[in-house]
């Protein structure tokens, strides 16, 4: 079978990817939206987000939408209700 990857080129002992990241941003239906006025920069959302998609900056929190799965834990855990999950519009 002719293919780009040739068996001789595969490093031996090879298997499951350890570092490969999947584009999980494509999974979500809801996306987190932060009200920067309310946010106290406590950092709890940063700790609890399973995908490590929330970054704390001097200006407040930033979401990495490439990976956010829309689970809503950040919304649920925010002590001041600064994060709200909103239905994401499908882009056609």
């Amino acid at each position: 079978m002719s293919s780009k990857v040739k068996y001789k080129d595969i490093p031996i002992g090879l298997a499951v990817s350890v570092r490969t990241q999947t584009h999980t941003g494509g999974w979500r239906s809801f996306m987190p939206v932060v009200d920067e006025e309310k946010c106290t920069k406590c950092g709890l959302c940063v700790i609890y987000c399973p995908e490590a998609c929330i970054e704390m900056t001097d200006a407040g929190i930033k979401f990495d939408m490439d990976y956010c799965k829309g689970c809503g834990i950040c919304d649920n855990e925010c002590p001041v209700g600064a994060i709200v999950m909103e239905r994401e519009e499908l882009v056609g």
């Binding site: 068996y7 595969i10 490093p11 031996i12 002992g13 090879l14 298997a15 990817s17 350890v18 490969t20």
Partner: protein
């Protein structure tokens, strides 16, 4: 060289392993390997082997432990037999896929039920599909030498596959003969330190792909073909190691894969594996005195199977008998694994000699001079008549 010790197969294996300087060994007893691991434990306690000795709780753990150790770059050892080998079956399959050059001794013993504490080759032959190399030893001397050679073969960059060196339970493992002991310095020169560059667990080595685990990415075909090629290359490596060993220590075992004994003008040959070869040699000598053209082939390497060597013999002789200390219930033409593999090797020869399968030695039953004479006569008769009366015969069956 020059120091002789009276050692049984187990002691010889323990000494061979000790001389090879393992880093981590996992020991668990099972008859008939028990004195092997007792010996290693004692040597370790006395400081004669400098390594980590892990007393494990079952064979499955023994193999997983040394797999982890080998993955972190250690030279390792474990030993088992019969039920223990079957218990670690799951892990045995994972090792060749991870390309870890483990060395393991199997003291061949029947698998229950019905089983025995005594010798059959079923336990090691059960591993013939999973990629482990297999060498079968005839004498204590060969066990010690093969232990050292096993490390060199397995760790060779062209191979990087795990290896079993097998010794018959009780018949070889518990029978003592004089063994020429190599010096540690000589072994150190022959066997350099294990330095893996294909699989080395270390926080600074992070591949994009994790070594060893099941190939979820759908590459099993390719990974297994790599193992297939490594087995093929192992034939060359086993032969080379045998030659190099002979140069350094003065002893060689045929060409490493098989040893031919008085086959030059033989009309028929018997093929044997393991310690029964010794008995067969005596009978071949006796029969040659009587003018009977019988020869003997000792099959040392079962994996990789020496297809080319057997093909050459098949071209020269007129009948072959394989003495199988095993069975394959319900198998083609009556089972008998050696006969099955040999017939495949010879199948496409232009002129195929008739092939007889003999099942003998099951459950440790002694394969006697009379048994060999019977089989040799059968082979020579078949060489004359070209008629195979029975494809596989259980020659020791009480009828």
């Amino acid at each position: 060289m020059g120091t002789y010790k009276i050692l049984d197969g187990n002691d010889a294996a323990a000494h061979g392993v000790a001389l090879s300087r393992p880093d981590v060994m996992a020991i668990f007893p099972i008859t008939p390997n028990t004195t092997l691991i007792n010996g290693l434990a004692e040597m370790h306690a006395k400081g004669e082997i400098k390594c980590e000795n892990v007393t494990v709780e079952n064979e499955h753990s023994a193999l997983s432990i040394i797999a982890g150790a080998a993955a972190a770059g250690a030279r390792t050892f474990t030993a088992s037999a019969s039920q223990g080998v079957v218990h670690m079956e799951e892990v045995l399959w994972m090792i060749p896929g991870s390309r870890l050059p483990l060395v393991m001794a199997i003291c061949n013993r029947s698998i229950s039920n019905p089983g025995s504490l005594q010798c059959s080759h079923s336990d090691s032959l059960l591993q013939r599909d999973n990629g482990w190399l297999q060498l079968y030893c005839e004498t204590s001397q060969e066990v010690l030498d093969t232990a050292i050679q096993s490390y060199k073969i397995a760790e060779d960059k062209r191979v990087l596959l795990p290896i079993h060196f097998c010794l018959d339970g009780y018949v070889l493992s518990a029978n003592a003969t004089p063994v020429d002991m190599p010096e540690q310095e000589e072994v150190d020169e022959f066997l350099p330190k294990y330095k893996p560059d294909h699989f080395y667990l270390d926080p600074t080595v992070v591949p994009d792909i994790a070594p060893g685990s099941p190939s979820y990415r759908g590459l099993e075909t390719e990974l297994r073909y790599q193992i297939e090629e490594a087995q093929e290359r192992a034939k060359t490596v086993i032969t080379e190691v045998n030659t190099d060993f002979a140069k350094k220590f003065g002893r060689s075992y045929g060409n490493g894969l098989i040893e031919e004994y008085r086959t030059e003008d033989a009309k028929g040959v018997l093929i044997t594996m393991g310690s029964m070869t010794g008995t067969a040699r005596v009978v071949v000598d006796q029969m040659r005195e009587e003018g009977k053209p019988i020869g003997l082939v000792k099959l040392r390497s079962f994996r990789p199977f020496p297809t080319e060597d057997l093909k050459e013999i098949g071209k020269r002789v007129e009948a072959i008998g394989f003495v199988d200390r095993n069975f394959s219930h319900g198998g083609a033409s009556g089972g008998a694994i050696g006969a099955i593999e040999t017939s495949r090797a010879l199948y496409h020869l232009e002129e195929r000699p008739p092939l007889l399968g003999f099942v003998a030695g099951i459950g440790g039953r002694d394969v006697t001079y009379d048994d060999f004479r019977y089989m040799a006569n059968k082979v020579l008769k078949t060489a004359k008549t070209k008629k195979v009366e029975k494809e596989v015969e259980w020659i020791q069956l009480m009828r």
